[in-house]
Assembly symmetry: C2
Homo-oligomer: 144 residues x 2
DNA sequence: ATCATTGCAAACACTTTGCATACGC
DNA sequence: GCGTATGCAAAGTGTTTGCAATGAT
């Protein structure tokens, strides 16, 4: 795992303590956290931290290509540091999100389809995850 | 094109004038409108129409499997009456959304991957559309 | 008469903006 | 000291909720 400061600099991002901590949090929590989860995860370590800074930082990271912004439905904006091509699976019962590494014949970055240049792709599968599958009916459950 | 009342009834939806009009609007505007666009498109015909009813109706339609809810980023919830398996392409310059019919080897409804049961899938490609491609730099442009 | 749908107003959640303060080179 | 980052408070946006009025059978 590369040094955080160097990693930020290599993406043309001036390192600040907040930015370093957000990056560290994303690295330690690769489960596509929301902005709020990043905030909650850091507020104890940086008591003066503001949500504005989280949003600023995550948007800035996205702009610089460091994170990918995921829209997984229901105004659920999540941030993914993992830029490998992969697919997301979201459980409609518990809300858990899984990374799946499936080979896929969809057009890739740089391909042209119907005259459109593809620069990004996002695949979202939904269903019942292996954990919820085992359980009988009942209500939704909070994500772990 | 099937009769609207019958179509609603066949999906266990009691037809009301608002529901019929929303369905008609979706059929005449297959460009994945937002709730606001549906509202704007109907407010002249039904002056007493409320946004609440649009949201109620669209959510009800989604629940009954009549429309698919698309999350295309940036809190952009759109509604798609077209339930054929297809892929969406969104232009990052002008915001236009295109339907693409690509064959795709991704898991389908009913497949099981890593123990997860797939019930739905959504593929979003992003990039520069064929219209914007031709244009030189400059700013974004409103969707037609 | 009963039950479902509509629609207003208010509440809500999430995100962005304006601006003053603090920080780093 | 100057340019940038931070953080508070407020505004903005899109959506949902509570509830009274209306409509359908």
């Amino acid at each position: 795992m590369e040094n955080e400061k160097e990693f930020l600099r290599s993406h043309n991002i001036k390192p600040s303590i907040q930015r370093i901590m957000v990056l560290r949090f994303l690295r330690m929590n690769p489960l596509h956290p929301t902005a709020e989860e990043v905030y909650q995860g850091l507020i104890n370590e940086i008591p003066t931290l503001s949500r504005t800074t989280i949003y600023n930082t995550l948007n800035f990271f996205a702009e610089k290509g460091l994170v990918k912004v995921l829209n997984l439905g229901h105004n659920e904006t999540r941030y993914d540091l993992n830029t490998d091509e992969h697919v997301h699976f979201k459980c409609i019962k518990c809300g858990r999100i899984y990374d799946l590494y499936l080979s896929c014949n969809l057009p890739q970055k740089g391909d042209v389809v119907d005259g459109h240049i593809i620069t990004e792709r996002e695949v979202l599968l939904k269903g019942i995850c292996r954990i919820c599958k085992g359980k009988k009916g009942g209500d939704d459950e909070v994500q772990v």
